[in-house]
Structures are given as structure tokens and as C-alpha cells.
């Protein structure tokens, strides 16, 4: 392995890492199937696409950067409320709304990145938790702006591009969310297979050593954190626009915890980990919605304990280990 051209030529390595594999093309083609096979479930499919985008944004900082965040829903919620407020007071054009939400969360993410990039380990976990709870409490208290626990009233979303109305069945909602997910996925994919993405992984493995080879840890983490915040904000804005409302649930600790669970279930530090995790988590939750929520969390707990104990790299990690063993035979 050490004499292969990939190891000696960094450009070739990066190019081979960013090549599209057939599995990926099949995956993205499969995302179109719900339009034809499951037209009754398009609203759920749209929720899944949004959640997958949220999980993907967390993967950038948690899976690649090694920043354990228990308050990532803060950005999702800020994006959701920004989009709602923007549509009520400025205009309801969805794409402009997305851009506005991205700008607001970008500022919030950049501001908090100064805090996040300075700390490690337990202090960092506690700080992200504290900031997330602060955001949640602020949204709860600012009743005049956000509607508090009653939910946001008066969001008015125009048709996408002036053509596609948000219909009852979720055709537009799913198409719109899926398009946004795909575009941002391409961006994330590009970023991960760039030298910047490699540097992020290096920082995850060794925070102190990376500056010595010319990659400023703190600045890189700040950039990644801001980008992840923007993506989470766009996911939140998508949820607002497709459901025409924003609720306190979008900024809650529960959502922060759920997204960590999804990502770990799928496999953190893998581009498709968050996506696969979100699909499995959301479908399972939909199927088990008949049972009371506290029992649903029993299975989540069992799943977490067993993933950590038996499947340290998530489902995708387990699958690729099996595939590697298969190939060796």
C-alpha cells in the first residue's frame, strides 16, 4: 500500500477520494422513488430530507472536526424562526427566505464559533449545551416575536419560483427539500474531499499537531462551525417553509440529542452517515408513532448503548468493515 501512487501523489489521492461511486448514484436516484412509489408519504419524505440535511451539517463539525455539540438545534431553530419572521414581515419568496435564514444563522454561527474553537472536551460539551439551552430559553421567552410555546403565527410562504405551490400532499415540499439537500450535499462533499476537509480530519485526530504542519486548528474549526451552522439554519428554514409554521420544538434540546443519535447511528465522519441515520431514524419513528413517546426513547436508548458497545463506527462503518472483509477473501 505504501508504494501505490495514491500515497505519494496528493492530487491523485484527493481525486480518487472524490470520485463518484456507483452506490452513490444509486442512492440519489433512489431518493426520487417516493414520487412514484409512495405518493402518500411525501410529507414524511420531505421531513426526512430536511432532517438528513441537519444531520449532514452536524457531521461536518462532529464527524469530521471532532467537535461534540449538544446544542446544534440552536442553529436549526434560529434558521426556522428567521425564515418564519422573514416571510411575515418582509416577503414570502422561499429562496430569498432561505438566503436570509442562512445569513442570520451564519452570523450566529460565526459569533459562537469564537467560543467553540477555544475549548475542548468536557468544557466544550457543556458550553454547546449551555448555548443551546440559552437559545431555547430565549425563543421561549421572546413570545412577542416567536409565539413562544404557542408556535409561530402568520408565516406566509409564496410558491417556489412563483410556479410550485406548497400542496397538501407534499409534492412541492419534497421536491424543494430534496433539491436543497442535494445542492448542499454537493457542497459538503466538495468541501470534505478538499485539502480543507483533510485538515479538519487531522484536527479531529490531533488538535496540537496540525498547526505544526501549517493548518491553523482554531481558524479551521471556526470556518467549519460557521458552515455547519449555515447548513443547519437552511434545514430549519426548509422546515418552516414546507410546514408553514415554526415551533419551539425546532430549537429544543430534544432535537439536538436526536440529531446526534441519528448521526452516530448512521456513522459519524462519513458523508452518508447522517443521511442514512436520518432515513432510518425518521422511518422508525413514523412506524412506531403509535406507541407512547417515552417507550420510543427506550429503544433509542438500547440502540445507542448497543451501537457504542458493538458498532463503534455506526451502521455504515459496520457495513464497510464487512465489505472490506469480503473483498479480502
Amino acid at each position: 500500500m505504501s508504494t501505490s501512487p495514491l500515497a505519494t501523489n496528493p492530487q491523485a489521492y484527493l481525486q480518487s477520494a472524490s470520485r463518484w461511486r456507483p452506490v452513490e448514484i444509486v442512492f440519489w436516484l433512489a431518493t426520487l422513488l417516493p414520487f412514484y412509489l409512495l405518493p402518500d408519504y411525501l410529507s414524511l419524505a420531505s421531513q426526512i430530507a430536511i432532517t438528513a440535511l441537519f444531520a449532514l451539517s452536524l457531521d461536518l463539525i462532529l464527524g469530521y472536526g471532532g467537535i461534540v455539540s449538544l446544542g446544534h438545534a440552536a442553529f436549526f431553530g434560529i434558521g426556522a424562526y428567521s425564515a418564519a419572521i422573514f416571510s411575515k414581515f418582509v416577503m414570502g419568496e422561499p429562496l430569498v427566505g432561505l438566503a436570509a435564514a442562512a445569513a442570520v444563522t451564519g452570523i450566529a454561527g460565526f459569533a459562537s464559533s469564537f467560543i467553540v474553537a477555544r475549548f475542548r472536551h468536557f468544557t466544550l460539551i457543556m458550553l454547546t449545551l449551555g448555548l443551546g439551552l440559552l437559545a431555547q430559553e430565549a425563543a421561549n421567552r421572546a413570545h412577542w416575536l416567536t409565539g413562544g410555546s404557542d408556535g409561530f403565527q402568520g408565516a406566509d410562504i409564496w410558491p417556489v419560483l412563483g410556479l410550485f405551490h406548497f400542496d397538501l400532499y407534499g409534492y412541492t415540499a419534497y421536491g424543494y427539500s430534496l433539491a436543497a439537500l442535494f445542492v448542499l450535499f454537493l457542497a459538503a462533499r466538495r468541501m470534505i474531499s478538499s485539502p480543507f476537509g483533510l485538515a479538519l480530519r487531522g484536527i479531529r485526530e490531533n488538535w496540537v499537531r496540525m498547526p505544526a504542519i501549517g493548518a491553523p486548528s482554531r481558524a479551521h474549526i471556526q470556518k467549519a462551525y460557521t458552515i455547519a451552522a449555515i447548513m443547519a439554519g437552511i434545514a430549519g428554514a426548509l422546515l418552516t417553509q414546507t410546514t408553514q409554521t415554526a415551533a419551539l420544538e425546532s430549537i429544543s434540546f430534544q432535537r439536538s440529542a436526536d440529531v446526534v443519535v441519528m448521526l452516530v447511528l448512521g456513522g459519524a465522519g462519513r458523508l452518508y452517515g447522517g443521511l442514512v441515520g436520518a432515513v432510518i431514524f425518521m422511518i422508525a419513528r413514523d412506524q412506531f408513532s403509535g406507541i407512547a413517546p417515552q417507550y420510543w426513547y427506550f429503544w433509542i436508548g438500547v440502540l445507542l448503548v448497543s451501537v457504542v458497545t458493538f458498532l463503534p463506527n455506526g451502521i455504515l462503518g459496520g457495513l464497510s468493515a464487512i465489505a472490506a472483509r469480503w473483498r479480502r477473501k
Partner: protein, 287 residues
Amino acid sequence: MLPPVFGVLFDGLAYGMLLFVLSVGLTVTLGLMNFVNLAHCAFAMLGGYVTVTLMNRFGWPFLATLPVAFFAAALASVVLERTLYRRLYRASDLDQVLLTIGIAFISVAVAAYFFGTLQQPIQTPGFLRGSADFLGLALGKYRLFLVGVALVVTILLVAGLDYTRFGAQVRASVDNQRMARGLGIDVDRTFAVTFALGSGLAGLGGALAIDIVGLDPNFSFAFLVYVLIIVSVGGLGSIAGSFAAACLIGVSDIAGKYYFPELGAFLIYLVMVVVLMWRPAGLFGKR
């Protein structure tokens, strides 16, 4: 006659004492092994349910249930430590967070399954009900009892850590784990015993908390935030730090609710974020 601000102060202190008993175990285990145990309050909840069951089903007196709550939580923690926790001492923060948050989720569901989601009623004994008059202040007897228990616990802990052989081993392991191992201290065993003690104290705290804050399956998460705040503000591994932080958080929470009810829990979170940014290792932390 003392002005009512002292009443608020006293209630805050009593609440702080309760939080101290709940959190001191986590402080020591975090300081000792750097193990992020988010299931700490699940042990507290177990203690609470043990007390409720013994009192309501079997008619035990309240005080007699407290040691049982302590031992039940300690025993459960030993079992979990042996089977699950011990594999992850060297693992990343993320794995520890996931495992323990998973256990906390399971505890919530199990409690809801066996006891329902309603608040559990208990009848505290007559001599702990009502209030005692002190210079014109009506001090709740139960709160006085809480302060007493917490002081006894603190004295026992501090004396145990400072004057016993085991305490010296714990201190050595917290200060420098490698050196302690080099000197022949069995750090893993020390940790297991400390972990059981800390979880037992959490169980005791859970039993004591019922009269003040009630008990329902969400206890595992409702108090987790407070406990984590106290641990991180006080500094990992510092008992005096937790004591000070518990008083600070208890008083500012009660005073905040009393004087600025519109702020809600905002004040507490803000205190935590500001203290952590100012001193990442906590008020009394060494690292």
C-alpha cells in the same frame, strides 16, 4: 425581625444543598476518570423510586428508606460500571456521552413503564412538615433537615477524603493518575468504589428531592442540566468547588424565580456559560 430576603436566601441554600448531594458524586467521578456520565441523574431517580415504593407499598418510615435508596443506587451503578462503563474509560467523549445518554433514555422509559408518568406522592413524617419560626422567618422544617443532611454528608466526605487511606488514594488518583498507578494504587478499583459511592449519594439526593421538586420519569433529564452546571462551574474533582457552586446555583435559581420570574431558567444557563468562558476548568478547578 429579618427581612424576607433572608427567607429567599435560606430556601436557595436548602435547594443548593439538595443539588450538592445530587451532584457531588459526578464531580468526583469526572475528576477521577474524566468519564462524562450523563446517566448520573438516572441513579438519583432510582433512589427516588425506591423510597416511594418502600413508603407507599410497604409502609416503611421515610428515614428508614433513605439508606436503602443509597444502597440501591450504589448497587445499580456497580453493575453498570462492571458491564458497560468500564469498556469506555479510554474512549472518546462522544462515545461516553452516547452510552450514558442512552442509559438515561432507557431509565426514563423504564420508570414510565413501572410507575406511570404522573408525579409520585409521598407523605413525609410529621416532624418534617410545617415550619419553624426563627427571628420572624418561617423556615421549612424539611429544608432545615436537608441542610443538616447535606452538612453531615459534606463533613463525612471531606473527613473521609482527608484522613483515611482510601481518601488519600482517591486524591492521589485525581491529582496524577499515572503517578498513582506507579505507586501501586489500584486506580480502577478506587474508581469503581468512588463511582458506587457517588451514585449512592445521587440516589440519596433523589430520595430527598421528592418533597421539594417531586418525582416523575423526566427526573433523569430535568436535573441533569443543573447537576452538570454545578459540576462544570465548581470544577472537576473539587468537592469544595461543588459545594460553593451548588450554593451559588441554588440561591441564584430561587432568587431568579422569586425576583425575575420572566427570565425563567435563562439566568442559570447564562451563569454557566459565563463562568465556563471565564474559567474553563471551573471556579475551583486545577486544570
